[in-house]
Structure formats: structure tokens, C-alpha cells
Symmetry: C2
Subunit: 829 residues, 2 copies
């Protein structure tokens, strides 16, 4: 028997391996890639020769054997050899009518699958109540009429047609597209397996099935699978394996033994395709047991415990991104809710709730204990209260890095962004779907933030389950990784999530969110209208105790783990009211005219706020804000120190572009530190560093590093500036761009290694050269992305920081990257 | 006599040179830097020893001799030695009263200048009508009472006090600041000249003066200057040189001969300080003749014609930026109009006119033949009509690279931008100055775009005069320069100015301005509402003939010189109306509802338009616009070709960040070119290239250059993105930043060599490596800046492109850079 090489495909390889291991595999021959390619182009194919190697009484099945299993291939064509002789043999055992039924079914399937005839005629025929003999006759006539040819009667003809059809199918453009998407090259090969059908139609209960030893969802060790067989006179019947045990006692036990053997031999949990023929068990194929991410982790842990694989194998075997499915609830794939709109899956997880159009409505819902979804055209800092309150977020505009998306991921709230199919009718407070469905406040929808889909009503959800396997698995990851994983967390809630997911610290705590709470907002507004540094200082003094409390809570929660606090960043106009009522209220509160408020707001208005008066520029022009924040940080450090926590806060300066900015702010911060030390008479430590967000900061990192203990790359803004693309506006063309491969990927999702990446490498090199002890990190949204993590490890970064809910993913990805490096899979960039 | 070396300062050097050349120089001694430094710190000074080297009857003057003339130094102290003996001698000749007057004047001057006494007392005393003897007595008593010392009576005491005072003055912080601004180092030295006063008080008409052989403003060869002498009994009298000729016949002829000799010896037109003593002419000093830029050019040309200097010297001798003063009218420095506000001098030149607040009002003014100034808080594309019409522009917001500033420079219209002192009361259509002056439409103001000042009413202006010397001088520059100078010109008017100033081509023709004309704007708006590519194409077809005419006019005007046309760049929302009336009109025109218009405008709204859907992104998502433009360019090329003009247009793609963008647009353009060639059956050439404006494009220049024939750096946007600063919003902190040296200079004025410059160098290197024949250029606002031009030459750029009105400046600066390079002053970066 010809032992197939690589050029016959993956199924051929597996079958050969099974044969070598001594398992019962039905007799088969392979047709290699090269032959299939020739056949596809019309070359002759010696079917009689091939058939001659089988017993004439065998029925034959032809199966795809693609170069890699995930590249697909046409579906199998079975029962080849079903000719008059064969049918007569069947008739002797099962009777004429039953034999005719089997024959008619073969003609129907072959006509539809191989010749592409419409299924409708055959379906009607089967249900028409005529006898099976008549049905067969009609089928053959219909075939003849439709194709202009007689139905291939001889087994050789059937085999040739089947193989030729499969060879051509492989070259069709839709098949090509599908496998290209899975990474197949243009010349990906298809082999064919021509095999004796070991599920004869002869014996009772003969049939075929699939089985695994683990539960697909939970990973529990339990035999599961399916079995199909032909019930006399009743067509094909499918059952579970427990029913099979009743029909064929002992078979399941044999399958269980088989699966256990395969698990050891293949060092993985496997699924088997098997058939039963007169009580004999045949193995037709095997592949890794399909499993959910949760089951995959349990399986990997158990394989390791059983000594079949080591921890590294276990860690490398799980795609890091799949952990998101374990952490968040998922929409049940079988649910039948109407899809209202598609958008961008901006924050994973799924949730159902009542529509609310404002933060206030969200709070009312929450007060009543009801779940709600905050629905906005786009969100801004004024919606933060609502986002904290709501159970899900849906926006009409904005991409993966829009305000809503970033906030939602941070909060772990499911979010669909940029659902531009939905018409947001702000005036009448309603949403209209493309299909015309009108939704009002209080109507229930389900947001699927993983797939970016909005469903009507309450959908069935699969709840997450973080079991002990998950914990053990991630502890292994922690053992293997060489980089720290911190979290981007602004609020105490987020910091708690980060701690729960065992983040090594906080890599980015944005402080501006702390100024939007109602009480504080008024103080901020008062500050904006203060006319002198002295007055500003006086107003900011009111915020000091609140900020100190914020920082005390964060430092206490993280205890000895580092907390990197970014000083105030956003433009001041974000704090001014926009609508008439709010302006009027503020005017009263500040004892000013509405005109004063409006004209100050007008003064502060910016053409491009992203590129305006924010970050360190505010810190230099209005140093009182940073003074207050630095004092709050230091006083909090002293205070938690009194309670036994030795915190070392990190102060991070945003949007730097020149070294003198760093020098000035550093001086301000040092002065405040000296004052606080003198006042309380207690020493404390802190670290001072920069967020590298402008291309210029990256290029000048050599200078900047002299005054910094750490450089943390804010790759969101850095990507915006390197490309000249506003992430909030990018949704207008990004989809089009990615579809047309103008950009291989959205650079806000996947770090642009060629452009932004080069800036990171330049900056890291220059920074380290002038300050060898500098800490290098990334704290943009990319920090949780596996490809970016690999890049950061290669560039010698000290840590990555990402959304709290991505911390487990990053822990795994950093471990995988370290393992691959040890194994020698790539090193220096 | 001690011959002073370098360490005695510039005046000492000049005097020594004059002595060596044999001119009559009054006897002098020098005090070197080191001695002055010691005296300033309180060291002893042997004044009697120094005085002993002069004749006891001499009066002495002490003059500053700073290391470089432009570094200043305290003013001279004269008449040292005016003691009783000396006064008695005077009295014998001129009478007691006259002698007392001279003595009193000396006491007064010495007390004020050396001892810092208040001038008020002495002025009153001089006018009080008392006798000169009484005046002297009172002065001496006042001195004694105020200082607690007696007035220094002996010549040695006076000399010591004077020298000590001058040494200390040199170290004062205000003096230090002034000379540091002129580039002086911290240890800049001051020497002193102690010299016999050769304008004795003895003879009639004895006195001192200054003279040059050229007119300060025009450069005409005519003796001019001033002379001061003491009229008996009437104090000091100042006259012109013609009066001197009447008093002392022959003196002026001698001075003219002297100036001619000095011109030859110093190879420059000189000013002399001279004195007359009993009819004898003494030379006291000489310096380059002060002259306006226009006079400087005439002088340089004539010196070259006379063989005294060569063309290189002539070219290096004129600061390139000063040409701006020749090209544009200037406000007469002596005018007395009230300053209403200060802003940023955003476009040079000065003009008076009536205030208009809208484009419509500007056009009405123009129709009446009246001059007007367009006054806006800030300008946008909708104001272009008004800016074309108005004679000057004044804005309340925006910096040197704001829309108003860039447009105004392009148009050569004087502009003051960011005049934030003025309150713009839009509702009541008026302006209020800081001082409370209220200005309404129609009131006349003067805008001084060179100094950034707004004056009340009509100010006296000095008109420009581009004479034949200017032309010859710039022709020399053209001979010496190694880089081309092109102009950024969008309209036919601008292109004509560029041609007049002999630009080597158009380096940047922005096409979007062509879409804002009324007729075209409606078509653009219709295009924005078109629902399919086909409909868009149909609408754009209406614009095609207009664009073709635009390009034909430009290509015809520039004839065989290259014209680089940048395809459409701005975001579409700039074309949609903002106010209610315009929205209503558009709705009627397009047969849509106002709601449709408003919601489309809302859809197109962007958070950061600078980083949004514009440039090549539009070209890819809505390729119909670029298709139409490319066709218009090619058809125009064919058409002008039929008229005998062999134009080779250049097509430039804006805002590129990835190579695939270039490939796609290049394909589009090539397809259009092929169509046009097939349709008309005529061959034509064009060049295809990119505007490098994003940091990513700079980093990826190696890829991009493969598909490009030229890379032109748009340093405005590149600076915005490298720093993360919107030029339109930067005025909020830029002044503060520059004043506090956070940035050494505004990077929008002066190219940031360390950051943006590095990107240019990286891009130039990578671009040239992958495409050695690539053309490299700069077309940002920096293109006309001397420092940037020097940078571009070093980086091997092929041309710079700047505002039409800066072309002469750039022609000179490129020549200077080339000459300095040949002379070996710096080479590789």
C-alpha cells in the first residue's frame, strides 16, 4: 500500500499515522496534490486502475486532504460504486423498496453535490408519496433531462466525476478566498483520500460518528459525540453516544479506550471519526478535540498534570485573545434574536438591558436595580458617570479607540461602537434600525461587544466561569514571562479589577476623570474663570483633599505594587458646559453673566483639541494644577505610609515634545515634594517620568531620558500623530482602508510596527543610551495586544500596561513571547 | 604710542587703522578689556599717569570701544579736564559769562551721565534766567548736596570717575541683556578710548559731525550728514552738511575725498565721525554707512561694479530677510498714529483702509474703489473671497501659520493675526481696543504686517521701489545658487507674482481654493450629497471644464517652468454651509430638506479635522474627485501643448502615510492619463509625487520613493504632527513657550531642526537610497526661511518653495547658502 508523504495532505498524514500505530483504518488510497492539480486542469484520471485496488463489492468514499486541516476543502462524496449490481445485492438482504430508496438517495446526493443540480426537485420527490422505485426512476430521468447526460452508472465513472469535481472545487475563487483568510498561500495543495466505506449498508446499526473524551464547553472529562446510522425504512438517524451504547454495547467503552490512547500518542485531547461495520470499529480520522477557551485551558492543564506536555506547551497552545471569551459573558450562538444593527465590537462581553439616552436615566435605572444600556451618538467626558452606571454602551459613531470604546474596555462594560446603521433621532429620543424598527427609552436590547452586534430584546447569554484551572494556568504564565503586566485603571473599581486579575501594578492612572464628578466639576469651572495664579491656587485647594483621598484609595488598593499617575491632560474646554441651561446655572454659581461664560468657552474653543492646549502645555502655562496634583500624591503617599503601606507612586507627564518642558515640570514637582517633606517631616520616594506620545518626544528620547526615570509610550496618541489620523474620526475611512488593504490592519488595534514601531525602537535605544537604568513601557490600548507584546519584549521593554480586563490576556501573551524567545523563535528586531 | 591689539575693542582697531593709513586722528590712548574688567570690580586706575601723556591744555573725551560695534557700550563722556584753570583760559577768549556757561554745561552733563543725578533740576536751572556764573554755582552746590561729595575738580579725578562709571555700566544687567540679544557672549569685552578732543572750544565754528557719501534711504550718491558746533552765547547748534559748506568752505569737498578714499580702503561705503578744530579736519571714527535695505543693495552693486568687492561679497553682505522691506510698503517710523493693538506680524507690508467685517462688505468697498481691511476673529475657506478683495487682514486669533496668515502671505496682503487685545463684538459688529476705543465698519485703521501693529487712522507709508539695482543683485544671486526656488501659488494672480519675482516654477498649487468660488461651491455641495460613485462622477463632470481652464491658465503663465499641483486636500465639511439661511438655500438648490443638509453636515463633522477624512484618504474613498482633477490637468496639458507650450505638470498627493495609498492613487492617475492619451491621440508627460506631511511618510520614505518622482515636504503639517500641536490653536501657549524658552523658537516660524529636521534627513536619505533620481523639496511655510534654506541645501534638496512674495528672499538666501558652502563654512549636517 502506497504510504502517502506530505504532498497528499493532512488527512492522509493522520491516516498513515493511525495505520502505523496499528489502529483499524479502512483500506484507502491517496491522490497527491500534483495529481489533483492536473485533474483540476482537465487531465485524464485512471479511475478504473484505482478502483481495481479495492474489492469490487466495496462502496467508496472520497475525502479532502488539504495541506493544512484549517484550509477546508470540498465535502466528502460517499457511496461511490452504488450501481445496479450493488443495488441488487442490497435488495436481496433488505428488499427491493429499501434498496431502491438507498439507490435513489445516492443519485440525489451525487446529482446535487457533484453536478450542482437544484435540491428542490429531489426534496419534493422524496416527500411526494410515490414508491422508492418510482422515485429512483424519476430522479434518473430528471438528471438526464437537466444535464443532457445519462447518470454515471459505473463505479469508475462515478469516482472520476467525484474526484474531478473536488479538484475543480478547490480552485474556485470562493474556496480560495476562504483559505487565504486562514493564511493559505496561492498554491496551497489538496490531496484526496479514496477509501473503502467501512459503514456498510449491510448490517443493522452500521453507521459512522464522532467522539471526544471532553465536554466541548466545560472541558469536563466525559465521553461525548454523535452517531448516524440508517434505520431500516426510515432513512438516516442521528443520536448521541449514550444511545449508541444502548444499540451497540461495548462500543463506547472501546471508543473511550481509543481516545485515551490517542490522547497519549498525540499529546492532546482528540476527536475521532469512526464507523461501525457489522460490529467492527473502524477509525476514519482524528483531529484535536474542538473546545471552548475554558475547556482548552482545563485540557491543557490536565495534559500537563499527566506529564504529556510541559507548561510551555500548555501556554503556547492557547491563543491569548481567546481568554476574553472566558472573562466575559457571551451571546449564545444559537439564540434567535433579530439583529438590529452591526457596529464595531469595541469592548467584549454581552449584556441585555433597557435603552437609556442619558447618564441621568442610567442612574434612575440602576436605582431601580434594572440593567440598562447607555445609547449615545458618541460619548465624551460628560458621559463618564453614565458609563460607570450603565451595564452596556452603544454608540453610533467612533471606532475601536473612540472615547466610548476605551472607557468601556477599561470599565469592562460591553460596548458596540460606530453602529452607523442605526438612526439616532435625538430630538424625539428614539433609535430607528435599518429595517424600520423604532426603539425608545426603556426598550430592551442586547449588546454583543465581542462581535459588534446589537440584538432586539433579551438574548440568552453564556456566563463566564473563572475556575481553578484558569488560575493555575495563569500562574504558570507568570512563572514564564519576562515582562511585567500592569493595568490602565483610573477608578477604584478598575484598580480592584486590576488587582483581582493580578496586575503587577498600575501603568496608567488618568487623573482627569476625577474632575468630572459633580462637586469637583464646579470647582474646576471656577478654576477656569480664576483671574490669577493666586486665585487658581485658592480654588484648586478645594480639590486637594478630594484628590488626596483618590490617591490614598488607589495606593492602598495596590499596596506595594507601583501606581503610575498621569497628571492632568485634557483641554480645559471639556469642563465647560455646552447647553444653555448649564451655562445659565454656571453663571449663577460663579456670579458671572451668561455672556462671560459663553465668551470664555469661545476663547477656549479649539479647531483640533487633540493638538491643542493640553497635557504638559497646561502644566507649564497653568502650573497650579500640577502643583495641586503633586501635593495630593505626596500627601497620600505619606498618609498611607503612616498606615503601613510603603507606596512608591510614579508621576507621569503627558504630551511632552521638548526637554525644557520636562525640566520645568520636574522643578515644579520637586519643589512640591520638598515642601511636603518639610511640612510633615517624613521622607517618601516617588518616581518621575514621561508619557511619550509625540513623534518628537520619541526622536528626542535621548534628551528626555536624562530627566526621567521611566518612558511610557502612549501608543494611541503616538499612532494618531505618526499617521495624522484622529482615532475618533478614523471610522469614516478605516473600514474601507482595512478592507482594501490600504492599511494591513487598523493601526489603533494592532500596533503599526513599521512606522510607530520604528519610533518606539528609536526612542528606546536613545533613551537607554543616555540613561541605562531607564524603565521602558507601553501604556496605550495596544499594550494588551499579543503582537505588540512580542514587539515590546524584543525591544527590551520592562512592562506593558493595558485595560484591566485584558490583564489575563497580556499575562499569557507575555509568557508566550518569553517562551518563544527561549525556544529561539526570533530574537532582536 | 601704544598700538592697540584686538583686546582694546573695535573702535580702537578702526582708529589704529586710520592712523596706519595716515589720516589725521587726534592723539589717543586705549584702556584694554582686562583693565576695564578690573576697574569695574573696583581696582585702582592710574588716571594721572594716563593724563600725563596728553598736553595739559587738552580737553579729553572717553569713548566706548566694545569687542564688536553692535554690542553697544556706554555713551562717551566729553570735556574732561574742564577745571578752573581751563575755564579761566576760556574766559580770556570768550568772556566770563560764556566760559561759565561752558563750565556749567560740563558740570551738568557729568553729574547726570556719570553720577546719575536727575536731569530735571539742571534743566530748570538752565531756563531760570539766572546768570551763567550763578548757574554754575548752583549746579556745583546741588551736586554737593545730592551726592555728599564735592564735584571732581581735577582732570585726573574726572577721568577716573568717567572710566570707572563706564566700566561699571558695561556690567549692568540691562546692558548685558541688550548685547546678549545681539549674540554677545557672557565675557564680551569693553575697551575705552581716551582721546584729545579735537573740537576745541577755541575757534569759531569748531565742532564735530558725521558724514556719508550715500543717501540713507535711496542709496543715491550724495554727501549727507550733520554737524554740531557751539554758537557764541547760544549753546550747541546742529545743522546739515550743506550749512557746514557755507560756514567752512572746502571742508565738505575734503570730506567727500576722504569718504571716497575710505570706501576704497574699507571696501564699503562708510560714515565718518569728524571734528573741525581751527579749520583743521580730524577723523574721530568711521563705521559702515547706515542704509536702508534698498540703499544697501544699490551700494553693494556699485561696490561690485567698481571692483572693490566681488559678487559673493555683495550677496553675503545683505541679510536676506531685509528684502521684505523693499518689496512691501512700510509704516513711516516717525508717524504718530495711536497704536490700537499689537498682534503677530503675519504678512509683511502696511496698508490703511476701512474696516469691513465680511467678504461681502469687502467687495462693496472694492467696487467703490476704496481700500479696506478685512477684520475677522479668525478666517476660514469661506473668507477667501474677502481676502482676495481686501487690502489688508486683521484677525483676533491664530498665529503665524493660521489660515489668515498663510493666505495673506500668499496673496501678498499685509496681515496682523492674533490681535487678542481687541475685543471682537460680533453681535454689534464692532471692535473695542484695550483703551476703550470703539471701531465700527467703515472706520479707518492701518495694519502694519511687518511689526504686527494696528494703528488708528491712516498712517504715513514708505512705498517700495524695485529698481534696476534690485534686479541686477538678484540676477547675481541666481548665478550663485545651487537650489531652485519655486513659489506656493494657488491663483492666477499669485502665479503672476511668482513669475514676476522669477520663481523657477510653482512648488505647491493648492487646488481646493478653486472649489470655493460661488458657482463651483454649489457643485461641490451637490457632489457631497451624491449617493453613488456614478452620480458623483456626473456632478464632478460639471467642474471638469472649470478646473481645466484653471490649469490651462496656470500652465500658460508658467510656460516651460514646472507647476506642481496638489490634488484636493480639505475635509468635505468645509464645503457645507453653517448658518440657517445658507442651509435653507442649499436645501432648495438640491431639492432636499434642511434636516437632510444638517444631518449630512453632522455626519461629516470631525473632532479633529486636521487629522480626519482629508487628503489622500478622500482620494481613495471617493476616487472620483482625483479622477476629475487628473483629467483636468492632462486635458489642460494637451490643450496648452496645442498652443505651443510644452508643459510638464507635476501631480502631488497630500497626507500620505502608507505606500498602498500611493499605489492606489497612482493607478487611478495612470488610468486617467491612458484614457486622455487614447481620446486625444497626443502624448504628454507628467510627473507623479507626494507631499510628505506625516511622520510616518517620512519614516517610510524608502517605500514611498519607489512610486514617486518627487517628495515634497509639507513642513507645516509635519511640524504639527511631530509636536502634536495644531498651528491654529498654538497661539494659546506659543508666546508663553517662546518667552520662557520652552521652545527656542516657534517651530511654525523656524524649522525645528532637532525633531522635524531629523525626520526630513531620515526621509531624504531613505528616499534617495531607494530612488536615486528622486527630486527632494520643501513646500511648507518654512521654505522661505534662511535657516531652513541652509538646512535644505545641506540635506541635498533640489528646491525650496515659498510664498510668492518671499521668492526674492529665498533666491538670495539660497545663493548665500551656496556661497558659504563653497567658502567652506560648514558642509554636511
Amino acid at each position: 500500500m502506497e504510504l502517502p508523504g506530505r504532498s497528499c495532505g493532512s488527512r492522509a498524514e493522520v491516516l498513515s499515522r493511525l495505520l502505523r500505530l496499528g489502529y483499524p483504518v479502512p483500506d484507502f488510497r491517496t491522490v497527491p496534490f500534483a495529481a489533483i492539480r492536473r485533474i483540476g486542469r482537465g487531465a485524464r484520471f485512471d479511475a478504473p486502475q484505482l478502483l481495481s485496488e479495492f474489492d469490487p463489492s466495496d462502496l467508496i468514499i472520497v475525502r479532502s486532504s488539504p495541506e493544512r486541516p484549517e484550509w477546508g476543502g470540498p465535502k466528502p462524496i460517499a457511496n461511490i460504486g452504488m450501481c445496479s449490481e450493488r443495488v441488487q445485492l442490497l435488495a436481496k438482504i433488505h428488499g427491493e423498496e429499501e434498496a431502491a430508496a438507498v439507490h435513489a438517495e445516492f443519485v440525489q446526493t451525487f446529482a446535487i453535490d457533484v453536478f450542482g443540480l437544484d435540491a428542490g426537485f429531489f426534496d419534493e420527490l422524496a416527500c411526494s408519496g410515490i414508491s422508492q422505485t418510482e422515485r429512483l426512476q424519476c430522479s434518473l430521468e430528471h438528471f438526464c433531462k437537466t444535464t443532457g447526460e445519462r447518470f454515471p452508472e459505473s463505479p469508475a465513472e462515478q469516482l472520476e466525476q467525484a474526484c474531478r469535481f473536488m479538484a475543480r472545487s478547490w480552485e474556485e475563487s470562493s474556496a480560495r478566498l476562504l483559505r487565504t483568510a486562514m493564511g493559505a498561500p496561492d498554491d496551497a495543495g489538496l490531496g484526496l483520500i479514496v477509501q473503502r466505506m467501512a459503514s456498510g449498508l449491510l448490517g443493522p446499526n452500521d453507521g459512522s460518528g464522532r467522539a471526544t473524551a471532553i465536554d466541548r464547553l466545560s472541558g469536563d472529562r466525559v465521553l461525548s459525540g454523535s452517531y448516524s446510522f440508517r434505520e431500516p425504512g426510515g432513512g438516516v438517524c442521528s443520536t448521541g453516544l449514550s444511545e449508541l451504547a444502548e444499540i451497540s454495547p461495548g462500543v463506547c467503552a472501546r471508543i473511550e479506550v481509543l481516545l485515551e490512547q490517542l490522547r497519549v500518542e498525540f499529546e492532546d485531547d482528540r476527536e475521532v471519526e469512526f464507523s461501525l461495520e457489522g460490529g467492527n470499529l473502524w477509525l476514519i480520522g482524528t483531529r484535536p478535540a474542538p473546545r471552548s477557551p475554558r475547556a482548552a485551558i482545563r485540557s491543557a492543564v490536565e495534559l500537563t498534570d499527566d506529564g504529556l506536555i510541559d507548561e510551555s506547551d500548555a501556554l503556547l497552545g492557547i491563543a491569548a485573545d481567546t481568554l476574553a471569551q472566558i472573562i466575559h459573558p457571551q451571546v449564545d450562538p444559537d439564540c434567535s434574536n433579530t439583529v438590529l444593527a452591526k457596529g464595531i465590537g469595541a469592548s467584549p462581553g454581552a449584556v441585555s438591558g433597557a435603552i437609556v439616552f442619558s447618564s441621568a436615566a442610567a442612574e434612575q435605572c440602576r436605582a431601580k436595580g434594572e440593567s440598562c444600556i447607555l445609547v449615545r451618538v458618541e460619548t465624551g467626558p460628560e458621559d463618564i458617570r453614565g458609563m460607570h452606571t450603565a451595564n452596556g454602551v452603544l454608540t453610533g459613531r467612533g471606532g475601536l479607540t473612540s472615547h466610548a470604546a476605551v472607557m468601556a474596555r477599561g470599565l469592562g462594560v460591553p460596548c458596540v461602537a460606530g453602529a452607523s446603521d442605526l438612526l439616532f433621532d435625538a430630538i424625539r429620543q428614539r433609535l430607528i434600525s435599518n429595517a424600520g424598527r423604532v426603539l425608545r427609552e426603556g426598550d430592551t436590547i442586547t449588546v454583543d461587544g465581542a462581535r459588534g452586534v446589537v440584538l432586539d430584546g433579551v438574548a440568552d447569554l453564556i456566563q463566564p466561569n473563572l475556575d481553578s484551572y484558569f488560575d493555575r494556568f495563569l500562574k504558570w504564565a507568570d512563572k514564564h514571562r519576562s515582562m511585567d503586566v500592569r493595568a490602565n485603571a483610573d477608578t477604584l473599581d478598575e484598580v480592584r479589577v486590576a488587582a483581582e486579575f493580578k496586575a503587577d501594578g498600575i501603568g496608567l492612572c488618568r487623573t482627569e476623570h476625577m474632575f468630572f464628578e459633580e462637586e469637583r466639576l464646579t470647582v474646576m469651572q471656577e478654576m477656569i474663570f480664576a483671574e490669577s495664579p493666586g486665585m487658581r491656587r485658592q480654588v484648586l485647594d478645594e480639590l486637594l483633599p478630594m484628590q488626596r483621598n483618590d490617591f490614598m484609595a488607589l495606593l492602598t488598593e495596590m499596596s506595594d505594587r507601583p501606581v503610575c499617575i498621569r497628571l492632568f491632560d485634557p483641554p480645559l474646554h471639556e469642563f465647560l458646559p455646552r447647553d444653555r441651561d448649564e451655562i445659565a446655572n454656571l453663571a449663577i454659581a460663579l456670579n458671572l453673566t451668561e455672556h462671560d461664560i459663553a465668551s470664555r468657552a469661545d476663547e477656549l474653543k479649539e479647531f483640533n483639541p487633540m493638538l491643542g492646549m493640553r497635557g504638559v502645555r497646561l502644566g507649564i502655562v497653568l502650573p497650579e494644577i500640577y502643583e495641586m496634583q503633586a501635593r495630593a500624591i505626596f500627601e497620600a503617599t505619606v498618609e498611607v505610609g503612616r498606615r503601613g503601606i510603603r507606596a512608591i507612586p510614579e508621576i507621569m507627564i503627558p504630551l511632552v515634545s521638548a526637554n525644557r518642558e520636562v525640566e520645568l515640570v520636574k522643578l515644579t514637582v520637586e519643589k512640591v515634594a520638598a515642601s511636603v517633606r518639610a511640612e510633615v517631616g517624613i521622607e517618601f520616594e516617588y518616581r518621575f517620568g514621561l508619557m511619550v506620545e509625540t513623534p518628537r518626544a520619541a526622536l528626542r528620547a535621548g534628551d528626555l531620558a536624562i530627566n526621567s526615570e521611566f518612558l511610557s509610550f502612549g501608543t494611541n496618541d503616538l499612532t494618531q500623530l505618526t499617521y495624522g489620523i484622529s482615532r475618533d474620526d478614523s471610522n469614516r475611512f478605516m473600514n474601507d482602508y482595512v478592507e482594501r488593504k490600504v492599511f494591513p490592519e487598523d493601526p489603533f488595534c494592532s500596533l503599526d510596527l513599521e512606522g510607530v514601531g520604528e519610533l518606539l525602537v528609536i526612542a528606546a535605544g536613545r533613551g537607554r543610551q543616555s540613561n541605562p537604568s531607564i524603565t521602558l513601557a507601553i501604556c496605550g490600548e495596544h499594550g494588551g495586544d499579543s503582537k505588540t507584546i512580542e514587539f515590546c519584549r524584543k525591544a527590551g521593554f520592562n512592562y506593558v500596561s493595558c485595560s484591566p480586563y485584558r490583564v489575563p490576556i497580556a499575562r499569557l501573551a507575555t509568557a508566550q513571547s518569553a517562551i518563544r524567545a527561549r525556544q529561539g523563535t526570533g530574537d532582536k528586531i
